[in-house]
Symmetry: C2
Subunit: 227 residues, 2 copies
Amino acid sequence: IIDIKQLTKFYEVGNQTVKALRGINLEIHKNEFVAIMGPSGSGKSTLMNIIGCLDTPTNGTYILNGTDVSKLNDNTLAEIRNKEIGFVFQTFNLLPKNTTLDNVMLPLIYAGIPKQERINKATEVLKNVGLADRINHKPSELSGGQRQRVAVARALVNNPSLILADEPTGNLDSVTSIEIMRLIEEIHEKGNTIVLVTHEPDIAQHAERIIRLLDGKISSDIKNNNR
Amino acid sequence: IIDIKQLTKFYEVGNQTVKALRGINLEIHKNEFVAIMGPSGSGKSTLMNIIGCLDTPTNGTYILNGTDVSKLNDNTLAEIRNKEIGFVFQTFNLLPKNTTLDNVMLPLIYAGIPKQERINKATEVLKNVGLADRINHKPSELSGGQRQRVAVARALVNNPSLILADEPTGNLDSVTSIEIMRLIEEIHEKGNTIVLVTHEPDIAQHAERIIRLLDGKISSDIKNNNR
Ligand SMILES: Nc1ncnc2c1ncn2[C@@H]1O[C@H](COP(=O)(O)OP(=O)(O)OP(=O)(O)O)[C@@H](O)[C@H]1O
Ligand SMILES: Nc1ncnc2c1ncn2[C@@H]1O[C@H](COP(=O)(O)OP(=O)(O)OP(=O)(O)O)[C@@H](O)[C@H]1O
Ligand SMILES: [Mg+2]
Ligand SMILES: [Mg+2]
Protein backbone atom coordinates (compact mmCIF):
# COMPACT_ATOMS: atom_id res chain seq x y z
CA ILE A 1 0.00 0.00 0.00
CA ILE A 2 2.93 2.34 0.75
CA ASP A 3 6.08 1.87 -1.36
CA ILE A 4 8.83 4.42 -0.77
CA LYS A 5 12.24 4.34 -2.46
CA GLN A 6 15.29 6.54 -1.88
CA LEU A 7 13.15 9.31 -0.41
CA THR A 8 14.96 12.53 0.47
CA LYS A 9 13.73 15.84 1.85
CA PHE A 10 16.06 18.81 2.06
CA TYR A 11 15.25 22.31 3.33
CA GLU A 12 17.19 25.51 2.68
CA VAL A 13 17.41 27.83 5.69
CA GLY A 14 19.55 30.84 4.91
CA ASN A 15 22.71 29.33 3.43
CA GLN A 16 22.31 26.09 5.39
CA THR A 17 20.84 22.89 3.97
CA VAL A 18 18.87 20.84 6.47
CA LYS A 19 18.68 17.19 5.38
CA ALA A 20 15.48 16.11 7.12
CA LEU A 21 15.26 12.79 5.21
CA ARG A 22 18.39 11.29 3.66
CA GLY A 23 17.24 8.27 1.68
CA ILE A 24 14.29 6.34 3.10
CA ASN A 25 13.34 2.90 1.71
CA LEU A 26 10.10 1.63 3.16
CA GLU A 27 7.26 -0.76 2.32
CA ILE A 28 4.07 -0.91 4.35
CA HIS A 29 1.38 -3.45 3.49
CA LYS A 30 -2.39 -3.32 3.83
CA ASN A 31 -3.61 -3.83 7.40
CA GLU A 32 -0.16 -3.49 8.92
CA PHE A 33 0.22 -1.63 12.23
CA VAL A 34 3.57 0.16 12.22
CA ALA A 35 5.11 2.39 14.91
CA ILE A 36 7.78 4.95 14.03
CA MET A 37 10.14 6.09 16.79
CA GLY A 38 13.29 8.15 16.95
CA PRO A 39 14.85 11.22 18.57
CA SER A 40 13.36 14.69 18.35
CA GLY A 41 14.26 16.11 14.94
CA SER A 42 15.05 12.76 13.31
CA GLY A 43 12.49 13.20 10.49
CA LYS A 44 9.36 11.40 11.73
CA SER A 45 6.83 14.17 11.04
CA THR A 46 8.50 15.00 7.73
CA LEU A 47 8.09 11.37 6.64
CA MET A 48 4.47 11.31 7.85
CA ASN A 49 3.64 14.47 5.89
CA ILE A 50 4.99 12.92 2.69
CA ILE A 51 3.12 9.65 3.28
CA GLY A 52 -0.04 11.68 3.94
CA CYS A 53 0.34 13.60 0.62
CA LEU A 54 0.71 16.89 2.50
CA ASP A 55 4.26 17.45 1.32
CA THR A 56 6.41 16.38 -1.61
CA PRO A 57 9.88 14.85 -1.42
CA THR A 58 13.03 16.49 -2.82
CA ASN A 59 13.93 13.19 -4.51
CA GLY A 60 12.87 9.55 -4.60
CA THR A 61 9.53 7.87 -5.32
CA TYR A 62 6.35 7.30 -3.34
CA ILE A 63 3.80 4.83 -4.67
CA LEU A 64 0.49 4.79 -2.77
CA ASN A 65 -1.90 1.94 -3.61
CA GLY A 66 -0.12 1.40 -6.93
CA THR A 67 -0.18 5.05 -8.00
CA ASP A 68 2.90 7.23 -8.30
CA VAL A 69 1.91 10.16 -6.09
CA SER A 70 4.21 12.63 -7.88
CA LYS A 71 2.17 12.13 -11.07
CA LEU A 72 -1.10 13.26 -9.43
CA ASN A 73 -2.51 16.78 -9.70
CA ASP A 74 -3.54 18.81 -6.67
CA ASN A 75 -7.25 17.99 -6.93
CA THR A 76 -6.66 14.25 -7.01
CA LEU A 77 -4.24 14.53 -4.10
CA ALA A 78 -6.76 16.49 -2.07
CA GLU A 79 -9.40 13.87 -2.81
CA ILE A 80 -7.12 11.05 -1.68
CA ARG A 81 -6.26 12.92 1.49
CA ASN A 82 -9.89 13.57 2.34
CA LYS A 83 -11.31 10.13 1.55
CA GLU A 84 -8.51 7.64 2.09
CA ILE A 85 -6.30 9.10 4.81
CA GLY A 86 -7.02 10.11 8.40
CA PHE A 87 -4.26 12.31 9.84
CA VAL A 88 -3.70 13.12 13.51
CA PHE A 89 -1.29 16.07 13.47
CA GLN A 90 1.39 16.57 16.13
CA THR A 91 0.03 20.10 16.50
CA PHE A 92 -3.66 19.09 16.16
CA ASN A 93 -4.50 21.80 13.54
CA LEU A 94 -8.13 22.28 14.55
CA LEU A 95 -10.20 25.12 13.06
CA PRO A 96 -10.15 27.71 15.88
CA LYS A 97 -13.48 29.39 15.10
CA ASN A 98 -15.43 26.13 14.90
CA THR A 99 -16.81 23.91 17.62
CA THR A 100 -15.55 20.44 18.46
CA LEU A 101 -18.49 18.92 16.58
CA ASP A 102 -17.87 21.02 13.45
CA ASN A 103 -14.20 20.09 13.46
CA VAL A 104 -14.99 16.37 13.63
CA MET A 105 -17.70 16.61 10.94
CA LEU A 106 -15.33 18.23 8.43
CA PRO A 107 -14.08 14.99 6.77
CA LEU A 108 -17.69 13.83 6.42
CA ILE A 109 -18.58 16.96 4.46
CA TYR A 110 -15.82 16.08 1.98
CA ALA A 111 -17.19 12.56 1.80
CA GLY A 112 -20.62 13.91 0.83
CA ILE A 113 -22.35 12.47 3.89
CA PRO A 114 -25.80 14.06 4.57
CA LYS A 115 -26.18 16.38 7.54
CA GLN A 116 -28.00 14.25 10.11
CA GLU A 117 -25.71 11.29 9.47
CA ARG A 118 -22.70 13.60 9.90
CA ILE A 119 -24.00 14.73 13.27
CA ASN A 120 -24.61 11.12 14.33
CA LYS A 121 -21.21 9.80 13.25
CA ALA A 122 -19.29 12.73 14.73
CA THR A 123 -21.17 12.51 18.03
CA GLU A 124 -20.50 8.78 18.18
CA VAL A 125 -16.73 9.06 17.74
CA LEU A 126 -16.60 11.98 20.20
CA LYS A 127 -18.30 9.73 22.76
CA ASN A 128 -15.60 7.15 22.07
CA VAL A 129 -12.84 9.60 22.97
CA GLY A 130 -14.70 10.76 26.10
CA LEU A 131 -15.71 14.21 24.84
CA ALA A 132 -19.49 13.92 24.55
CA ASP A 133 -19.84 16.84 26.98
CA ARG A 134 -17.48 19.13 25.02
CA ILE A 135 -19.29 19.12 21.66
CA ASN A 136 -19.99 22.83 21.58
CA HIS A 137 -16.66 24.05 22.88
CA LYS A 138 -14.20 25.79 20.59
CA PRO A 139 -10.58 24.60 20.65
CA SER A 140 -9.53 27.50 22.92
CA GLU A 141 -12.11 26.27 25.44
CA LEU A 142 -10.55 22.82 25.66
CA SER A 143 -7.59 21.40 27.53
CA GLY A 144 -4.48 20.30 25.61
CA GLY A 145 -5.38 16.65 25.88
CA GLN A 146 -8.98 17.34 24.86
CA ARG A 147 -7.79 19.09 21.68
CA GLN A 148 -5.59 16.09 20.97
CA ARG A 149 -8.60 13.80 21.33
CA VAL A 150 -10.66 15.97 18.95
CA ALA A 151 -7.83 15.61 16.42
CA VAL A 152 -7.96 11.82 16.88
CA ALA A 153 -11.75 11.77 16.52
CA ARG A 154 -11.57 13.83 13.33
CA ALA A 155 -8.99 11.43 11.85
CA LEU A 156 -11.13 8.36 12.58
CA VAL A 157 -14.65 9.60 11.85
CA ASN A 158 -14.93 8.53 8.19
CA ASN A 159 -13.14 5.22 8.76
CA PRO A 160 -10.26 5.94 6.35
CA SER A 161 -8.22 3.00 5.07
CA LEU A 162 -4.92 4.63 6.13
CA ILE A 163 -4.53 6.24 9.55
CA LEU A 164 -1.44 8.39 10.15
CA ALA A 165 -1.14 9.42 13.79
CA ASP A 166 1.74 11.72 14.78
CA GLU A 167 2.17 11.35 18.57
CA PRO A 168 -1.58 10.95 19.29
CA THR A 169 -1.08 10.48 23.04
CA GLY A 170 1.64 13.08 23.73
CA ASN A 171 -0.66 15.22 25.89
CA LEU A 172 -2.66 12.44 27.54
CA ASP A 173 -2.48 10.77 30.94
CA SER A 174 -2.00 7.01 30.93
CA VAL A 175 -5.68 6.09 31.41
CA THR A 176 -6.84 8.28 28.52
CA SER A 177 -3.91 7.04 26.37
CA ILE A 178 -5.06 3.45 26.85
CA GLU A 179 -8.58 4.41 25.71
CA ILE A 180 -7.21 6.08 22.57
CA MET A 181 -5.00 3.10 21.77
CA ARG A 182 -7.95 0.74 22.18
CA LEU A 183 -9.88 2.81 19.60
CA ILE A 184 -6.93 2.66 17.22
CA GLU A 185 -6.66 -1.12 17.67
CA GLU A 186 -10.39 -1.50 16.93
CA ILE A 187 -9.92 0.39 13.68
CA HIS A 188 -6.93 -1.83 12.89
CA GLU A 189 -9.03 -4.97 13.42
CA LYS A 190 -11.50 -3.70 10.81
CA GLY A 191 -8.73 -4.02 8.21
CA ASN A 192 -7.32 -0.51 8.15
CA THR A 193 -3.60 0.31 7.95
CA ILE A 194 -2.06 2.25 10.85
CA VAL A 195 1.18 4.24 10.95
CA LEU A 196 1.78 5.80 14.35
CA VAL A 197 4.64 8.04 15.47
CA THR A 198 5.36 7.90 19.17
CA HIS A 199 8.25 8.44 21.52
CA GLU A 200 6.62 6.28 24.23
CA PRO A 201 7.75 2.63 24.22
CA ASP A 202 4.48 1.46 25.86
CA ILE A 203 2.48 2.94 23.00
CA ALA A 204 4.83 1.48 20.37
CA GLN A 205 4.24 -1.97 21.85
CA HIS A 206 0.70 -1.95 20.39
CA ALA A 207 2.22 -2.11 16.88
CA GLU A 208 3.28 -5.21 14.97
CA ARG A 209 6.43 -3.58 13.64
CA ILE A 210 8.67 -0.82 15.00
CA ILE A 211 10.73 1.39 12.69
CA ARG A 212 13.38 3.66 14.16
CA LEU A 213 14.59 6.86 12.48
CA LEU A 214 17.92 8.49 13.23
CA ASP A 215 19.12 11.66 11.48
CA GLY A 216 16.79 11.22 8.52
CA LYS A 217 17.51 7.52 7.89
CA ILE A 218 15.95 4.26 9.05
CA SER A 219 18.25 2.80 11.71
CA SER A 220 16.17 -0.30 12.43
CA ASP A 221 12.97 -2.00 11.23
CA ILE A 222 11.94 -4.87 13.47
CA LYS A 223 8.89 -7.09 13.96
CA ASN A 224 7.40 -6.67 17.43
CA ASN A 225 7.15 -10.12 18.97
CA ASN A 226 5.89 -8.95 22.36
CA ARG A 227 2.31 -8.45 21.26
CA ILE B 1 5.86 31.85 47.93
CA ILE B 2 2.53 30.61 46.52
CA ASP B 3 -0.47 30.68 48.86
CA ILE B 4 -3.80 29.69 47.30
CA LYS B 5 -7.07 29.41 49.22
CA GLN B 6 -10.48 28.20 48.02
CA LEU B 7 -9.58 28.89 44.42
CA THR B 8 -12.36 28.33 41.88
CA LYS B 9 -12.52 28.85 38.12
CA PHE B 10 -15.81 28.51 36.29
CA TYR B 11 -16.43 28.98 32.57
CA GLU B 12 -19.75 29.61 30.84
CA VAL B 13 -20.14 27.79 27.52
CA GLY B 14 -23.58 28.37 26.05
CA ASN B 15 -25.91 27.55 28.95
CA GLN B 16 -23.44 25.12 30.52
CA THR B 17 -21.12 25.97 33.42
CA VAL B 18 -17.76 24.21 33.28
CA LYS B 19 -16.20 24.03 36.76
CA ALA B 20 -12.53 23.79 35.84
CA LEU B 21 -11.31 24.39 39.44
CA ARG B 22 -13.66 23.69 42.35
CA GLY B 23 -11.86 24.90 45.44
CA ILE B 24 -8.08 24.53 45.46
CA ASN B 25 -6.05 25.03 48.67
CA LEU B 26 -2.33 24.98 48.03
CA GLU B 27 0.91 26.26 49.56
CA ILE B 28 4.21 26.08 47.74
CA HIS B 29 7.39 27.26 49.46
CA LYS B 30 10.54 28.81 48.06
CA ASN B 31 12.87 26.32 46.35
CA GLU B 32 10.29 23.54 46.35
CA PHE B 33 10.07 21.26 43.33
CA VAL B 34 6.46 20.23 42.84
CA ALA B 35 4.92 18.00 40.15
CA ILE B 36 1.22 18.27 39.28
CA MET B 37 -0.44 15.23 37.70
CA GLY B 38 -3.98 14.25 36.84
CA PRO B 39 -6.27 13.16 34.00
CA SER B 40 -6.76 15.16 30.83
CA GLY B 41 -9.21 17.99 31.63
CA SER B 42 -8.73 17.87 35.40
CA GLY B 43 -7.66 21.54 35.66
CA LYS B 44 -3.86 21.45 35.60
CA SER B 45 -3.29 24.11 32.91
CA THR B 46 -6.05 26.28 34.37
CA LEU B 47 -4.30 26.21 37.75
CA MET B 48 -0.91 26.94 36.14
CA ASN B 49 -2.32 29.94 34.27
CA ILE B 50 -3.65 31.42 37.51
CA ILE B 51 -0.36 30.77 39.34
CA GLY B 52 1.46 32.40 36.41
CA CYS B 53 -0.74 35.52 36.58
CA LEU B 54 -2.07 34.88 33.09
CA ASP B 55 -5.62 34.33 34.25
CA THR B 56 -7.76 35.36 37.22
CA PRO B 57 -9.85 33.05 39.41
CA THR B 58 -13.63 33.20 39.70
CA ASN B 59 -13.30 33.12 43.49
CA GLY B 60 -10.71 32.55 46.21
CA THR B 61 -7.37 34.20 46.93
CA TYR B 62 -3.88 33.92 45.48
CA ILE B 63 -0.99 35.43 47.40
CA LEU B 64 2.33 35.44 45.53
CA ASN B 65 5.42 36.36 47.55
CA GLY B 66 3.24 38.05 50.16
CA THR B 67 1.22 40.13 47.67
CA ASP B 68 -2.48 39.58 46.95
CA VAL B 69 -2.39 39.18 43.16
CA SER B 70 -6.02 40.33 42.71
CA LYS B 71 -5.05 43.77 44.05
CA LEU B 72 -2.40 44.36 41.37
CA ASN B 73 -2.98 46.36 38.21
CA ASP B 74 -2.19 45.03 34.75
CA ASN B 75 1.19 46.76 34.44
CA THR B 76 2.47 45.35 37.74
CA LEU B 77 1.19 41.90 36.79
CA ALA B 78 2.96 42.08 33.44
CA GLU B 79 6.17 43.10 35.17
CA ILE B 80 5.97 40.20 37.61
CA ARG B 81 5.32 37.79 34.76
CA ASN B 82 8.26 39.02 32.76
CA LYS B 83 10.83 39.26 35.53
CA GLU B 84 9.87 36.67 38.12
CA ILE B 85 8.15 33.86 36.25
CA GLY B 86 9.33 31.59 33.43
CA PHE B 87 6.42 29.79 31.76
CA VAL B 88 6.65 26.78 29.45
CA PHE B 89 3.24 26.60 27.77
CA GLN B 90 1.58 23.31 26.85
CA THR B 91 1.12 24.78 23.36
CA PHE B 92 4.57 26.49 23.27
CA ASN B 93 3.19 29.90 22.08
CA LEU B 94 6.25 30.96 20.11
CA LEU B 95 6.18 34.07 17.91
CA PRO B 96 5.74 32.58 14.43
CA LYS B 97 7.46 35.35 12.44
CA ASN B 98 10.57 35.39 14.65
CA THR B 99 13.58 33.13 14.70
CA THR B 100 14.43 30.73 17.51
CA LEU B 101 17.04 33.20 18.80
CA ASP B 102 14.59 36.13 18.80
CA ASN B 103 12.02 34.07 20.64
CA VAL B 104 14.46 33.12 23.37
CA MET B 105 15.81 36.70 23.70
CA LEU B 106 12.34 38.14 24.29
CA PRO B 107 12.33 37.87 28.15
CA LEU B 108 15.78 39.50 28.19
CA ILE B 109 14.45 42.54 26.33
CA TYR B 110 11.83 42.97 29.06
CA ALA B 111 14.59 42.66 31.65
CA GLY B 112 16.50 45.50 30.01
CA ILE B 113 19.53 43.38 29.17
CA PRO B 114 21.82 44.97 26.52
CA LYS B 115 21.92 43.47 23.06
CA GLN B 116 25.22 41.55 22.99
CA GLU B 117 24.54 40.04 26.41
CA ARG B 118 21.07 38.99 25.17
CA ILE B 119 22.63 37.19 22.23
CA ASN B 120 25.16 35.48 24.49
CA LYS B 121 22.66 34.33 27.09
CA ALA B 122 20.11 33.12 24.54
CA THR B 123 22.75 31.25 22.55
CA GLU B 124 24.03 29.62 25.74
CA VAL B 125 20.65 28.26 26.83
CA LEU B 126 19.88 27.11 23.27
CA LYS B 127 23.12 25.12 23.36
CA ASN B 128 21.92 23.56 26.61
CA VAL B 129 18.71 22.28 24.97
CA GLY B 130 20.63 20.99 21.93
CA LEU B 131 19.45 23.60 19.43
CA ALA B 132 22.63 25.55 18.68
CA ASP B 133 22.24 24.67 14.98
CA ARG B 134 18.62 25.86 14.77
CA ILE B 135 19.12 29.47 15.91
CA ASN B 136 17.89 31.07 12.70
CA HIS B 137 14.94 28.78 12.05
CA LYS B 138 11.40 30.05 12.48
CA PRO B 139 8.99 27.88 14.50
CA SER B 140 7.42 26.45 11.32
CA GLU B 141 10.89 25.22 10.32
CA LEU B 142 11.30 23.20 13.50
CA SER B 143 10.10 19.80 14.61
CA GLY B 144 7.48 19.54 17.38
CA GLY B 145 10.05 18.57 19.98
CA GLN B 146 12.39 21.35 18.84
CA ARG B 147 9.62 23.94 19.34
CA GLN B 148 9.03 22.52 22.77
CA ARG B 149 12.72 22.95 23.60
CA VAL B 150 12.68 26.55 22.37
CA ALA B 151 9.76 27.17 24.75
CA VAL B 152 11.81 25.64 27.59
CA ALA B 153 14.86 27.74 26.68
CA ARG B 154 12.77 30.92 26.63
CA ALA B 155 11.35 30.14 30.08
CA LEU B 156 14.80 29.59 31.61
CA VAL B 157 16.90 32.27 29.90
CA ASN B 158 16.57 35.04 32.50
CA ASN B 159 16.85 32.66 35.46
CA PRO B 160 13.40 33.49 36.92
CA SER B 161 12.72 32.63 40.56
CA LEU B 162 9.53 30.71 39.68
CA ILE B 163 9.45 28.22 36.79
CA LEU B 164 6.05 26.93 35.65
CA ALA B 165 6.40 24.13 33.10
CA ASP B 166 3.21 22.70 31.58
CA GLU B 167 4.14 19.28 30.13
CA PRO B 168 7.66 20.34 29.01
CA THR B 169 8.59 16.87 27.70
CA GLY B 170 5.29 15.85 26.04
CA ASN B 171 6.82 15.85 22.54
CA LEU B 172 10.29 14.58 23.41
CA ASP B 173 11.95 11.18 23.16
CA SER B 174 13.37 9.76 26.38
CA VAL B 175 16.99 10.84 25.81
CA THR B 176 16.04 14.46 25.09
CA SER B 177 13.57 14.42 28.03
CA ILE B 178 16.38 13.44 30.38
CA GLU B 179 18.48 16.36 29.12
CA ILE B 180 15.62 18.82 29.70
CA MET B 181 14.99 17.46 33.21
CA ARG B 182 18.67 17.79 34.06
CA LEU B 183 18.50 21.48 33.05
CA ILE B 184 15.44 21.98 35.22
CA GLU B 185 17.14 20.26 38.17
CA GLU B 186 20.19 22.52 37.74
CA ILE B 187 17.92 25.57 37.93
CA HIS B 188 16.28 24.07 41.01
CA GLU B 189 19.68 23.64 42.71
CA LYS B 190 20.34 27.36 42.23
CA GLY B 191 17.43 28.06 44.59
CA ASN B 192 14.56 28.55 42.17
CA THR B 193 11.03 27.19 42.69
CA ILE B 194 9.71 24.70 40.14
CA VAL B 195 6.10 23.70 39.42
CA LEU B 196 5.87 21.13 36.66
CA VAL B 197 2.77 19.57 35.11
CA THR B 198 3.33 16.15 33.61
CA HIS B 199 1.39 13.02 32.87
CA GLU B 200 4.56 10.90 32.83
CA PRO B 201 5.39 9.21 36.16
CA ASP B 202 9.13 9.05 35.34
CA ILE B 203 9.23 12.83 34.93
CA ALA B 204 7.20 13.40 38.12
CA GLN B 205 9.77 11.35 40.05
CA HIS B 206 12.26 14.24 39.70
CA ALA B 207 10.04 16.34 42.00
CA GLU B 208 10.08 16.40 45.81
CA ARG B 209 6.31 16.51 46.06
CA ILE B 210 3.54 15.20 43.80
CA ILE B 211 0.10 16.81 43.72
CA ARG B 212 -2.75 15.06 41.91
CA LEU B 213 -5.77 16.88 40.50
CA LEU B 214 -9.09 15.18 39.77
CA ASP B 215 -12.12 17.06 38.40
CA GLY B 216 -10.86 20.45 39.53
CA LYS B 217 -9.88 19.43 43.08
CA ILE B 218 -6.69 18.19 44.71
CA SER B 219 -7.10 14.46 45.28
CA SER B 220 -3.68 13.87 46.84
CA ASP B 221 -0.58 15.84 47.87
CA ILE B 222 2.32 13.61 48.82
CA LYS B 223 6.03 13.96 49.50
CA ASN B 224 8.09 11.96 47.00
CA ASN B 225 10.40 9.70 49.00
CA ASN B 226 11.89 7.93 45.99
CA ARG B 227 14.29 10.70 45.06
N1 LIG C 1 -11.93 28.83 28.01
C1 LIG C 1 -12.60 27.75 28.44
N2 LIG C 1 -13.95 27.71 28.35
C2 LIG C 1 -14.63 26.63 28.78
N3 LIG C 1 -14.08 25.54 29.32
C3 LIG C 1 -12.74 25.51 29.44
C4 LIG C 1 -11.94 26.61 29.00
N4 LIG C 1 -10.63 26.29 29.24
C5 LIG C 1 -10.63 25.06 29.80
N5 LIG C 1 -11.90 24.59 29.92
C6 LIG C 1 -12.29 23.31 30.49
O1 LIG C 1 -11.74 23.25 31.81
C7 LIG C 1 -11.28 21.94 32.09
C8 LIG C 1 -9.85 21.98 32.57
O2 LIG C 1 -8.99 22.37 31.54
P1 LIG C 1 -7.40 22.34 31.70
O3 LIG C 1 -6.83 22.88 30.45
O4 LIG C 1 -7.00 23.00 32.97
O5 LIG C 1 -7.13 20.78 31.83
P2 LIG C 1 -5.75 19.99 31.97
O6 LIG C 1 -5.75 19.28 33.27
O7 LIG C 1 -4.61 20.90 31.68
O8 LIG C 1 -5.86 18.90 30.83
P3 LIG C 1 -4.77 18.28 29.81
O9 LIG C 1 -4.02 17.26 30.60
O10 LIG C 1 -5.64 17.65 28.76
O11 LIG C 1 -3.91 19.37 29.29
C9 LIG C 1 -11.44 21.11 30.82
O12 LIG C 1 -12.52 20.22 31.00
C10 LIG C 1 -11.74 22.13 29.74
O13 LIG C 1 -12.70 21.65 28.80
N1 LIG D 1 10.27 23.84 7.01
C1 LIG D 1 11.48 23.47 7.49
N2 LIG D 1 12.59 24.17 7.17
C2 LIG D 1 13.78 23.79 7.65
N3 LIG D 1 14.02 22.73 8.43
C3 LIG D 1 12.95 22.00 8.79
C4 LIG D 1 11.64 22.32 8.35
N4 LIG D 1 10.78 21.40 8.88
C5 LIG D 1 11.53 20.55 9.61
N5 LIG D 1 12.82 20.91 9.57
C6 LIG D 1 13.94 20.21 10.21
O1 LIG D 1 13.89 18.85 9.76
C7 LIG D 1 14.23 17.97 10.84
C8 LIG D 1 13.16 16.90 10.99
O2 LIG D 1 11.97 17.49 11.42
P1 LIG D 1 10.73 16.58 11.86
O3 LIG D 1 9.59 17.50 12.19
O4 LIG D 1 10.45 15.55 10.82
O5 LIG D 1 11.28 15.84 13.15
P2 LIG D 1 10.55 14.81 14.15
O6 LIG D 1 11.28 13.53 14.08
O7 LIG D 1 9.07 14.80 13.88
O8 LIG D 1 10.82 15.46 15.56
P3 LIG D 1 9.92 15.56 16.90
O9 LIG D 1 10.02 14.23 17.57
O10 LIG D 1 10.62 16.64 17.65
O11 LIG D 1 8.53 15.92 16.50
C9 LIG D 1 14.39 18.82 12.09
O12 LIG D 1 15.76 18.91 12.42
C10 LIG D 1 13.82 20.19 11.71
O13 LIG D 1 14.57 21.26 12.28
MG1 LIG E 1 7.44 15.43 14.94
MG1 LIG F 1 -3.24 21.01 30.16
